[in-house]
Structure formats: C-alpha cells, structure tokens
C-alpha cells in the first residue's frame, strides 16, 4: 500500500506533465498514470485507484474522466474534488431516489444516511466498474441483488438500530430465496421485484408497492393466476372494496420468510393465521378430530381451513361455486374420505357442542356425558375416601395378623 503526500504527488505529477502543458487531460495516459495504481489512497486513506481494464470494460468505459469529475480540467487538481453528480445523465433515477425511503431516512432518522457512501454506488458498487444489470457481475444482476441489499439489511446491528426486521436471513431461507440463490432462477422474486429499485417507498405510503392494499397487485405481477382467483374470492373483493383488515397475500404467506405452502411446516403453522380473524370457527375446528390430528404433526394431510374453503378463491357457502356449498360437499369431503355420501357430509366440521341453539343434539349428548362423568367420579371418590380412612383406622386399632384383611 502506498500513501502519497499531497506535496509529493503534486511534484511528481508536475514533472510528468511539463512536457505538454495546457493539453486536456486524457484518461488513459494522464489520469491513469497516477490513478492506475490500484493501491493509491488519498490523505483520508480512501482508495482512489482505478483499474484501467475494469473501467474500459464497464458501461462507462467510453466516457472521459472529466465527463463525471467535472471540476477537474487540469493538473494539479484540488485535493478533494467535488462529488460526482450522476443525475446529470441519470435524471429519472435521481428524482426517483430523491423521493424514496432511502433519501428520507438520510434526513429524518438521526444517524442514518440511507446509503453507505453515495446514493448510487451504495448499491451499484465501484463507480469505475459498473456494468449493465444484465451482466452476471453486476451488483444489481437479479441473482446478486439479495446480497447487495443484504449488505445493509442483513446486518443485525443496523436492523436493530433502525427497528427494521432482519429480512435478509428470512428471505434467503424462503421459497423465493431458495429459487434464486440455490436454483439460480432469474424469474424468482428478488428484493426489487416487490420493492422496486430507485423509488422504494415505506409500506405505510399508499403509493408503495408494499402498501397493504397494493400487495395483491405486486405479488400478482408474477402470480397472475393466483391473483385472479384471489380477486374472485371474498378476501380479494373486500380489499378492493376498501376493507383494509381483509387478508392480503402477506398475511398468510408472510413477506420475506415465505415457505412452500404445501410443505409440512406451512400446513402446521397456518390454521392459527386464519383463526386470528375467524376466532369462533377456529375454536370449533379445534374441537374436531381434524384439528387434533393436525396439531400432532406427521399427518399433515389432515383438513386445514383451505383444504375445504380453498386458499385464494374463498367463497361463502351460499355461493354455488363454493366447495362448501351443500351441492359440492360430497366432492369436497370425498377428496380425502373415499365413499363420502349424502349422510356423511352432514357431519359438521365446525359443530359447537356448547351451543344449545345451534347443535341441540350434540349439546345434550355432551351434557349427559359430563353429568355421567362427574356423578360417577364424585360418588366413588367420596366412597373410596371414606373407605381409605376407615381401613386406616381399623388397621391402627387392631394390629392383629388379620389386619391386612380389614
């Protein structure tokens, strides 16, 4: 590593440039004669070396140094040249980023910059080595994006400091992260697929792609078929009608840690999600064999909510297209229970034995069984307790050899 003092650098460059005074600086010969040394650092210890090969291969390789470093025309140049203004060319991206959460965080949150060093290079990497986003070496190539965003959002200290969920780890283990990272699927959702790139907005902003009621559209940009089904169902219709409490994709699937919905893990964890709104239905479901089997695991095919009600196109039982419409029950139950008939489907998967009005027969059967249980146990507990006391008393009284037979 070499640190050049300001004086030494100036002297060295002056001698070099004496031959052609007044000639405009040329990247190859002039700037790179100093900056071509990759170990070159300024007085602050910041690397100011530029790799000639990488620069020429980069998307900006045809530009002259002074196209971006506009304040440097000649040598000697100021010790600390002005920051490069990318918006000169990239005006749209610059205005998008100016309205983004990253820009807001740099002004509104104390201690936050919203980006590491520079609004652009924070994500796009070394300014002299930027390649097109379709190049696998690009920091914003789809397969590299999680790592790029994860540079900040995978840092537990940063997440803790700004009260952000540590989303990187969740994403990497998710079905999207697996498809992207392990399977190398370019079409798998990366960070920018849902959040956008330059104009990333807080999920609390109604303009945001991750604002609650915009989520179905965001996910639906890939999952077109599922979104169509969802929009036909009661939940999609409620969201469209402005009911903000109706569930959107992320309520059931979560946002970052999305797991394979047919996996045992998801089947084990998901009924309470529906139950968090449908409390009464969840409670009556818990009384059934379906739930008792389901809770213990290892038998995940047991009916969960959406096995009967569907996951996305949820329809009221009164709708003839609903799988729980009376006309469709034999087919719906028959998916698991071979031989289900008209009588079999009268079984109530949400029967409430505690409700006399809704389920009178069940209510009285439960009452009878409870009375039987309590009366038998009460009588015999009393009977046996008295017997115990009497036997003990008898034993103490007669220590005779026959005491064991009192």
């Amino acid at each position: 590593m070499k640190t050049v003092s300001s004086f030494g650098l100036t002297l060295f460059a002056s001698v070099l440039l004496l031959a052609a005074p007044g000639r405009p600086l040329r990247a190859d010969t002039d700037c790179l004669s100093c900056h071509g040394d990759p170990t070159l650092q300024d007085t602050n210890g910041k690397s100011i070396g530029v790799s000639a090969d990488k620069f020429h291969a980069s998307i900006h390789g045809s530009l002259k140094c002074s196209d971006c470093h506009k304040d440097i025309h000649d040598y000697p140049h100021p010790d600390h040249p002005a920051a490069v203004q990318c918006e000169t060319c990239h005006a749209d991206e610059a205005s998008a980023i100016a309205g983004s959460i990253h820009a807001k965080a740099s002004t509104s949150v104390p201690g936050a910059t919203g980006w590491k060093a520079h609004p652009c290079t924070g994500c796009h990497g070394n300014a002299h080595e930027i390649v097109t986003k379709t190049d696998p070496n690009s920091t914003v190539y789809p397969l590299n994006i999680p790592k790029t965003c994860g540079g900040c959002h995978g840092d537990p200290a940063m997440a803790k400091k700004f009260h952000l969920p540590n989303v990187y780890a969740l994403y990497i283990d998710s079905i999207h992260g697996f498809a992207l990272g392990k399977e190398g699927l370019l079409v798998a959702a990366n960070c920018t697929s849902c959040h956008g790139s330059h104009k990333i907005l807080s999920h609390t902003d109604p303009q945001s792609s991750t604002y609650r009621t915009n989520i179905p559209r965001t996910c639906g940009s890939c999952h077109v078929g599922i979104n169509e089904q969802y929009q036909q169902g009661v939940h999609g219709k409620a969201v469209t009608a402005g009911n903000a409490s109706a569930p959107v994709c992320t309520d059931c699937h979560t946002a970052h840690g999305i797991v394979e919905p047919t996996s045992a893990d998801f089947r084990m964890q998901s009924t309470p999600i529906c139950g968090s709104c449908h409390r009464d239905k969840f409670s009556t479901y818990r009384d059934t064999f379906h739930s008792q089997l389901g809770l213990l695991g290892g038998y995940t095919e047991t009916a969960r909510c959406w096995d009967c009600h569907r996951a996305h196109e949820v329809l009221p039982a009164s709708d003839p297209n609903s799988p729980v419409n009376k006309a469709n029950l034999i087919a719906t139950c028959g998916r698991c229970h071979a031989g289900a008939n008209a009588s079999f489907v009268q079984y109530q998967p949400h029967a409430n034995a505690r409700n006399r009005k809704l389920n009178p027969a069940l209510y009285y059967i439960r009452l009878f069984m409870n009375l039987l249980l309590t009366s038998v146990l009460t009588f015999f507990l009393l009977h046996t307790a008295l017997w115990l006391i009497r036997s003990r008393f008898q034993q103490a009284k007669s220590k005779s050899p026959g005491g064991k037979n009192a």
Partner: protein, 296 residues
C-alpha cells in the same frame, strides 16, 4: 359373567386333599381366577394403557407433552396406529368373552351366570352391601359379609362392559365414518367424538384413581392385590375378604375343587413387576390428564 369355579369339572381330586396331612403352619391356597380370566385382565389392562396414553395425546393434542411425544414417534400416524391396533386386540378379547357367556349361559344353560351368588348381575344383596359398607365406613354398623363378587367389583365389570360398547362403537364409527354414515345421520359422527372422548376420560379417571385405590392401593391390599395375577389367595385372605363365599363353599363341600398350590415365587415376582409397571404408568397418565384439564 363366567364363574371361575368350574361346576362340572374338578381339577383337583378329593384324594389330593386326603393325602395332605393337616398342617396348620402351612396355609392353604384357593383358586379365585382361572388362567383365562387372568389373561383376559392382562390383555384388558395392557391394551387399555396404550389406548389411554395414545387417546390422551389426541384429546389433549395442544399440550406440550403430547406434541413432544408425537415428535419423538414421528407424528400422529404412529400414535393412531397403536390406538387402532390395541382397539382391535381389545375388541377381539371382548368378543371372546361375550362368546363364552353365550356359550355357557345359552347353549349350556348355566343359569349361575345370570343370577345367584356367583353371577356378575347385581342383586338385592349388592344394594344392602353398598349401604352396609357405607354405614361401616362411618362406624355405624358391622362390615358386610361379601359374596364372590362385591358390589364395587360388579360396578367395575359393568363399567368396562358398557365402556367397551360405547367407546368401541363410537370409535369404529369414526374409523369407518363413510361406511357408518350409510346407517347413521351426519351429526352422529360429531356425537361420536364427544362420546368417545368423554367416556374415554371417564374410564381413564375411574381406572387410574378409583379402581387402583379400591383394588390395589388401599391399606388392606397395598401396594397391590396379587390375586388377579396369580389367581390364588390364601385361606385366611379368602375367609376375611369374602366370608359368605367361603361359608357357602364349605357348606356345599366344594373346598376340594378350589384348593390349589401356593403361587410360585417366579409368578409372584413376575406379577409384581408387571402390576407395578401398570400402576406407575396409570398414575403418570392420571397426573398428565389432570394437568391438561387444569391447564385447559
């Protein structure tokens, strides 16, 4: 109910007794339960313990111990498999038992099964014994003189009998639900689970508290009444526990048909191990049941 006392066959000839010298220091032993009856009890309690353990895990499937155990045995499938397997074994034992009653009571016209001192059917003496026993608990009267089967033993028998029918029928209705739905209305399938689990809980709570104490843990039998394992009891025990039966045996001159050898040591030790294990498992299940109840 089959009587262990064979009325026709005499396994021990009179001659055996006659050759035995009168030795007061050597206690005589009498047979109370035949090998078949002891085996029936063994099958009953073994399958019942497994059915109770697996059933409780399903009934209280939200409890930590149920979920832990389910994970240990790779989930629910294993639990249900053992539940169904033991249900089949117990059903088979029940059918064999009923077949024997029918064979003896109907085909051989052995009326002692249905009434009389050796029958399991309750009679007026049982009512008197119940009240007499409770008067004795309170020190208000003498201890009743019990016959072959005391009222609480008859209750145990009929509780199991009724439980077998109720739990068995509701269990099979759930197992083969589409088949049973051909004869039963749909709500009966809802009722089946309520009946099955409530009756199962009653059986578990009753057996592991009342039956254990009445038969094994009360001071007179503590820690275990071995007669259901060895089938034999000493003359003194017999005389003290069921004086009316003893008296009847002497009066009918049938003591020779019931006399037997002392239980061999290996059988006693084996029975102690098996019985003690069963009681410990039962009490552990009782604690788990009560804790799950309290936890909600």
């Amino acid at each position: 109910m089959p009587d262990p006392t064979p009325t026709t066959a005499a396994p021990t000839p009179e001659a055996t007794i006659a050759t035995q010298p009168a030795a007061p220091e050597q206690p005589r032993y009498f047979l109370r339960f035949t090998l078949g009856q002891r085996c029936l009890h063994a099958v009953l309690f073994t399958t019942f313990l497994v059915l109770a353990a697996t059933g409780l895990m399903m009934r209280f499937s939200g409890s930590i111990w149920a979920i832990r155990f389910a994970k240990l045995v790779d989930g629910f499938g294993t639990i249900l498999f053992f539940h169904k397997f033991c249900a089949l074994v117990l059903t088979l034992a029940f059918i064999i038992h009923v077949r024997e009653i029918v064979a003896r009571g109907i085909f051989k016209r052995d009326k002692s099964i249905f009434w009389g001192p050796t029958s399991m059917v309750a009679n007026w003496k049982d009512v008197k014994d119940l009240f007499g026993h409770m008067r004795w608990f309170l020190g208000l009267g003498p201890k009743p003189r019990f016959e072959r089967y005391a009222y609480w033993e008859k209750f145990d028998y009929w509780a199991v009998f009724w439980g077998m029918v109720v739990i068995g029928f509701s269990g099979y209705a759930m197992w083969f639900a589409p088949f049973f739905a051909r004869f039963l209305p749909g709500w009966a399938l809802n009722a089946a689970l309520v009946i099955h689990s409530e009756e199962g809980l009653l059986a578990i709570l009753f057996i592991f508290s009342i039956h254990f104490v009445n038969t094994h843990l009360r001071p007179d039998s503590f820690p275990m009444d071995m007669v259901i394992f060895t089938g034999r009891e000493s003359e003194e025990e017999f005389k003290n526990r069921r004086p009316d039966e003893y008296q009847r045996m002497i009066a009918e001159g049938k003591s020779a048909t019931r006399i037997t050898d002392a239980p061999p040591l290996w059988l006693l030790n084996f029975s102690r191990v098996v019985g003690f294990t069963a009681i410990v498992i039962g009490l552990a299940l009782l604690v788990l049941t009560l804790s799950a109840y309290i936890a909600g």
